[in-house]
C-alpha cells in the first residue's frame, strides 16, 4: 500500500514539474553552409556566400525579395514609379538606426548608391548603379532614383545584396566589421570554421526576432555535410549537396524542402569558334542532349527542363523545350547538312558535381551522334580566366555551368560575353523589352526573346536546378524557394 503511494507521489511530482529541457526554449540555431565568404561586405565583392550570411540579417536593402520572388517593403515603406518606369520615388522607414547608433536616412541611401557607382567600385552590379542618372534626396525620408533607361525590375534589383544600405562612417571596414540596420550583428568569425550572429537588441522590431543566436559552420565535403546533420551538430543545411539528400527524405527527424530557383544550368557553346558559329551544328548539339537523363544523372533529379535562358514562373515565361528536342537522328542529319564530320570539341568542366557528372553524361550523349567531347576538368580560377571573364581568351568549345543570377538576359547582349552570340536582332529586342513599361506587352516581348534564343540554339539550355534544404523537423520559417542566395533568419524559429 505504502509502496504504491510512493510511486503515485513520485509520478505526480514529475508530472507537475515541467521537464527542464522543455521549460528552456531553444533560441539558437546552427546552420551549415558549403563555402565561407571571403569578407562580409556584399557591396564590394560578388561571392554568393557573402549574401547568404549578411543579406536581411546584418544589412538591409530598400526592398525585400520574398520567398515567392515578389518584392515587398523593407527600408523603403513604399515606392512609386513614373509611367515610363524610369524614375522611382522611395518613401523610407522612419526611426531606423544603424547598429553603430547612426541614423538611417536618405543621405545613407544616396551615399550607398553613389559608392556602388564610383569609378573604383567593385560592386557586382556596378553597371546598374552607374545607370542611375541621378539619386536625389529631397528630404530625410525620401529618395528619388532616375534611371537612364526604363527598368521595370528596379525594386527587385535593389533588394539584392549588392544594394545593401551601408553607413558612411563604417563603410570602409564592413569587410571585417559589418554595420547595417538588420536584426543581427556579427558576434565572432573564426576564419575557416564558423561565423556567429547575435540578435541586435535595439533592432526596430526586435520582439519579432525569435532566434537570439545563429552559428554558421562552413562544411564543403558532401559526406561531412550529411554527417553534421545526422549527428545533430547542425540544425539546418540550405542548398546541401544534392547527392546526400535521399537519405533524409525517409528520416523522421528531418524535413527536406525542395525549392525552385532562378538559376539556369546550361551547356555553353562558344559561338566565336568554327564550326560552332553554324546554327545547324549548335542545333545538332542540342538535339543530342537528353535533358531528362541529364537531370537524373547530374542533379539527382532536382531540376526542371528549360529550353531558353529563362526560368518557369518568371514574367512572360514560355515553354521552349519543344524547339530543339532530344532527337539523335535529327542531330546526325543536321551535322551532315552542315558538312561537319569527326567533330572534336573541348569540354571544360568547373568543380561542382552538376558540371563534372553532367560533363560525363554530355560526352556520352554527344558520342552517340558522332561528336567527340574531350573533357578537361578545371578549377573555378582557371575557368574564370580562360573561359568566362570578359577579358579572357574564351578558350573553350563547350562548358557546363549554372547561371544563378535572376533576370540576366541582359548578359547575352554584352559584346564580350563568353557565348559570343552578338546578334543585332536580339539586342534590339532586348532594348524594346526594357523600354516597354506595360507588363503584358513586356511579357509578350520576353516570350519572343526566349524563343529567339531557343531557335538560334545559343546554348544547350538544360534545366532549372532545384535547391534542396534539409532542416530539423522542429525548425520553422525556413524558406523553401530561394529566388536568390540568402537566409532570412528573422523568419526562423523553433517549434
Amino acid at each position: 500500500m505504502f509502496k504504491k503511494f510512493v510511486i503515485v507521489a513520485v509520478a505526480a511530482a514529475f508530472a507537475a514539474a515541467p521537464l527542464p529541457a522543455l521549460a528552456q526554449k531553444k533560441d539558437s540555431v546552427v546552420m551549415g553552409m558549403t563555402l565561407e565568404p571571403p569578407g562580409l561586405d556584399p557591396t564590394n565583392a560578388a561571392a554568393a556566400a557573402i549574401a547568404e550570411v549578411t543579406l536581411y540579417n546584418i544589412y538591409e536593402t530598400l526592398t525585400k525579395i520574398k520567398e515567392d520572388g515578389t518584392v515587398g517593403p523593407l527600408l523603403a515603406e513604399s515606392w512609386t514609379a513614373t509611367p515610363d518606369l524610369k524614375t522611382y520615388t522611395f518613401k523610407l522607414a522612419k526611426g531606423v538606426k544603424f547598429q553603430n547608433g547612426e541614423p538611417f536616412n536618405s543621405a545613407a541611401v544616396k551615399f550607398s548608391f553613389d559608392r556602388n557607382a564610383a569609378k573604383d567600385s567593385t560592386n557586382k552590379d556596378r553597371s546598374l548603379f552607374q545607370a542611375m542618372e541621378s539619386v536625389t534626396a529631397p528630404d530625410a525620408d525620401t529618395i528619388v532614383v532616375a534611371m537612364k533607361y526604363s527598368e521595370p525590375n528596379l525594386p527587385f534589383l535593389l533588394g539584392q545584396a549588392s544594394g545593401s544600405i551601408v553607413e558612411p562612417k563604417s563603410a570602409g571596414t564592413n569587410v571585417t566589421q559589418p554595420v547595417g540596420t538588420g536584426p543581427y550583428q556579427l558576434g565572432a568569425w573564426v576564419k575557416g570554421s564558423s561565423i556567429t550572429l547575435n540578435k541586435w537588441a535595439d533592432y526596430r522590431n526586435a520582439a519579432a526576432i525569435k532566434l537570439s543566436k545563429v552559428t554558421i559552420r562552413f562544411i564543403s565535403d558532401p559526406a561531412s555535410q550529411a554527417a553534421a546533420l545526422l549527428s545533430g551538430d547542425v540544425d539546418a543545411f540550405p542548398r546541401i549537396a544534392t547527392r546526400v539528400v535521399a537519405q533524409f527524405k525517409s528520416d523522421p527527424r528531418f524535413t527536406v524542402l525542395i525549392g525552385g530557383s532562378k538559376a539556369k544550368t546550361i551547356v555553353a557553346i562558344n559561338e566565336r569558334r568554327k564550326p560552332l558559329d553554324d546554327v545547324r551544328v549548335r542545333r545538332a548539339i542540342l538535339a543530342a542532349i537528353d535533358r531528362k537523363a541529364m537531370i537524373e544523372g547530374a542533379a539527382e533529379g532536382f531540376g526542371t527542363p528549360i529550353g531558353s535562358f529563362y526560368t518557369p514562373g518568371s514574367l512572360g515565361y514560355v515553354d521552349t523545350t519543344g524547339i530543339n528536342p532530344y532527337d539523335p537522328e535529327k542531330a546526325k542529319k543536321l551535322l551532315a547538312e552542315a558538312g561537319v564530320t569527326n567533330l572534336e570539341l573541348s569540354l571544360k568542366l568547373p568543380p561542382p558535381p552538376y558540371a563534372r557528372q553532367g560533363g560525363e553524361i554530355l560526352a556520352a550523349q554527344l558520342a552517340k551522334v558522332g561528336i567527340t567531347a574531350k573533357i578537361e576538368n578545371v578549377e573555378w580560377a582557371q575557368w574564370l580566366s580562360q573561359v568566362f571573364a570578359g577579358n579572357s581568351p574564351h578558350n573553350f568549345d563547350l562548358t557546363i555551368v549554372s547561371h544563378v543570377e535572376p533576370f540576366d538576359l541582359v548578359k547575352i547582349t554584352e559584346p564580350d560575353y563568353y557565348l559570343g552570340y552578338n546578334n543585332e536582332a536580339f539586342n534590339k529586342l532586348y532594348q524594346q523589352i526594357v523600354a516597354t513599361p506595360d507588363e503584358a506587352g513586356r511579357a509578350k516581348l520576353l516570350g519572343d526573346a526566349q524563343k529567339m534564343l531557343a531557335t538560334d540554339a545559343v546554348a544547350g539550355f538544360m534545366y532549372q536546378p532545384q535547391w534542396p534544404t534539409v532542416i530539423s523537423k522542429k525548425l520553422k520559417g525556413v524558406w523553401k524557394d530561394v529566388p536568390q542566395f540568402e537566409n532570412d533568419f528573422s523568419a526562423w524559429s523553433w517549434e
Binding site: K124, A227, L230, E379, W380, A381
Partner: protein
C-alpha cells in the same frame, strides 16, 4: 648551412610552381561578372603586375624580416592567419604522432616478441588492412560510428581552446585517430622487422647465454638498437602526416593549416599558399634534422659532425 640551402631551394621551387598555376587572385576576388578594368585595378593594387623576379625577391626579403605580407582574399596579415591555424594543426599533429607511436611500438614489439604465433599473424593482418585504408574514408566511417550512431563526439568542427583543454582535444580525437591508423600500421611493420632483425644478432645470443631473461634482453638491448630505422620512418611519416591534414581537416571541417592551404589554392590566394607550403617544408627539414641528431643519442658511434 645545408639546412638553409635546402630551404632557399624549396622556396624557389614553391614560388615557380605556384606562379605557373592558371587563374589569378584578382579575377577570383572580383567574381565572374567583374569588368576587365576593375580586375586590372585590383591586380595593380595587389602588386601582381610586377615581374616574377621582383616578386620572388620581395617575398624572400619579407621572410627574412618576418613580414609575410597580406592575404589577397582576407586582406589580413598572412602571419596572423597562419598563427591562428597552427593552434589547431600543431596539437593535431602532436596527438596523431603520439597515437601513431604508441600503437605502432606496442604492436611492433608485441608481434616481434611473439614471432609467428597467432597474435603476430592477427596483428600483422590488421596492419595490412590499416595500410590499405584511405584515411578520409576511414574518417567517414569513424564519424558514422561515433558521431551519427553513438553521438559521443561531434562530427566535425573545432571547439577552440578558450573553454579549457578538454573540449579542444575532444574535437581533435577523431581526426587524429583517422590520421594515425595508416601511419601506425606502417610504423608497426617497420618496428617489427627492425626488432626481429636485431633479435638475430650475435650479441643477443650472448646476452641470453649470460643468463639474462628474454624480457630483459628485449627491453634493454634489442629496442635501443632497433630504434634507428624506426626513427627514420617516423621522421618521414611526419611529412606524410602534415600532407594528410589537408584532407582530414576538410572532412572534419577544422580551421587548420591544411584547410587554409586548400581554400587559398581555390581562391588563388597564392601569397598564403606559398608561405604555408614554405612553413611545411621548413617543418619537415627541421624534423629530419632532429631525427639525425637523435641517431647520435641512440647510437653513440654516430657522431654529429658526420651528418
Amino acid at each position: 648551412m645545408t639546412l638553409l640551402a635546402t630551404l632557399v631551394g624549396a622556396s624557389l621551387i614553391i614560388f615557380l610552381v605556384l606562379d605557373a598555376l592558371p587563374g589569378n587572385a584578382a579575377q577570383m576576388l572580383m567574381g565572374a561578372d567583374a569588368s576587365p578594368d576593375a580586375v586590372r585595378a585590383l591586380t595593380v593594387k595587389l602588386g601582381l603586375d610586377q615581374p616574377l623576379a621582383v616578386r620572388y625577391l620581395q617575398w624572400l626579403k619579407g621572410m627574412a624580416v618576418g613580414d609575410l605580407g597580406n592575404s589577397y582574399a582576407y586582406g589580413t596579415p598572412v602571419a596572423g592567419l597562419i598563427a591562428e591555424r597552427l593552434t589547431l594543426t600543431i596539437p593535431l599533429a602532436i596527438i596523431s604522432m603520439s597515437v601513431t607511436v604508441t600503437l605502432a611500438l606496442s604492436a611492433g614489439i608485441y608481434t616481434a616478441a611473439n614471432h609467428n604465433k597467432l597474435g603476430d599473424v592477427g596483428v600483422m593482418s590488421l596492419t595490412q588492412i590499416g595500410i590499405a585504408l584511405p584515411n578520409f574514408w576511414f574518417a567517414i566511417l569513424l564519424i558514422l560510428l561515433f558521431s551519427v550512431r553513438l553521438q559521443w563526439l561531434s562530427a566535425g568542427g573545432f571547439a577552440g581552446w578558450e573553454d579549457g583543454i578538454w573540449p579542444g582535444v575532444r574535437s581533435l580525437l577523431l581526426p587524429a585517430f583517422s590520421l594515425s591508423v595508416v601511419q601506425a600500421a606502417i610504423l608497426a611493420r617497420v618496428t617489427r622487422s627492425a626488432v626481429l632483425e636485431v633479435l638475430r644478432e650475435d650479441f643477443v645470443r650472448t646476452a641470453r647465454a649470460k643468463g639474462l631473461g628474454k624480457r630483459e634482453v628485449l627491453w634493454s638491448h634489442v629496442l635501443r638498437n632497433a630504434m634507428i630505422p624506426v626513427m627514420t620512418v617516423m621522421g618521414l611519416q611526419f611529412a606524410n602526416l602534415l600532407a594528410g591534414t589537408i584532407v582530414i581537416e576538410n572532412v572534419f571541417y577544422l580551421p587548420g593549416l591544411g584547410r587554409l592551404i586548400f581554400q587559398s589554392i581555390a581562391n588563388r590566394d597564392l601569397i598564403v599558399v606559398r608561405n604555408c607550403v614554405m612553413l611545411l617544408a621548413a617543418m619537415v627539414v627541421i624534423v629530419n634534422f632532429v631525427v639525425d641528431v637523435l641517431y647520435a643519442f641512440i647510437d653513440p658511434r654516430i657522431k654529429v659532425h658526420d651528418l
